[in-house]
Symmetry: C2
Subunit: 90 residues, 2 copies
DNA sequence: CAATGTTACGATACACGTAATCATA
DNA sequence: TATGATTACGTGTATCGTAACATTG
């Protein structure tokens, strides 16, 4: 599991599409597809239900999404805090 | 920035030693040293003050540590939630 | 000078993209 | 059958470990 995979999940959930999520992520569709499959294997279940015309979160995906967002949010706060430390508000 | 680097930081902070942290992390000292240097570059400052006999957190490191722990904690909760979803308590 | 962190460098593995394939609305 | 996801596969890069080096208490 890594942070990039989590960001991919967010983008897929937001766009309901692997191809559009790939654009958002500056990656190709296969790269994103593989990366998410790998994460799904690690988490023990599918996060998305795919058909050729639609992508939607599974119940498992719904359950994981808030946790995933929280983890990415923590990362963002960490980066912001690092930046703020070196550029303090006077 | 990745989760492994964050875990390395925790181990170094806990042991006050790169070599002991490397053991905890199942990595070699150079690997850990490089990985942390890379993170420090990305965050814009040294997290640890090194001498040959001691390693201690810098003020910047002190400031980042809680954020780092929080991010790793979020990841742990995500993994636990995934496990719990497939092994619900009856 | 002994213990510990860093640098250099080569090998291996992994991530990524291209191309081809599969699936379904 | 056209759109969009997956699989196959080769390549380039990044990660990791070994060995050599630097540093300092």
């Amino acid at each position: 599991m890594n942070l990039k995979q989590l960001q991919f999940v967010i983008h897929v959930a937001e766009t309901c599409s692997f191809s559009r999520a790939a654009e958002l992520s500056f990656a190709t569709q296969p790269t994103l597809s593989n990366s998410i499959s790998q994460l799904e294997d690690e988490l023990g279940g599918r996060l998305f239900k795919r058909t050729t015309r639609s992508v939607e979160l599974t119940p498992f995906g719904e359950a994981m999404l808030p946790r995933i967002k929280e983890t990415l949010h923590s990362r963002d706060e960490l980066l912001q805090a690092a930046h703020a430390f070196h550029n303090p508000v006077h």
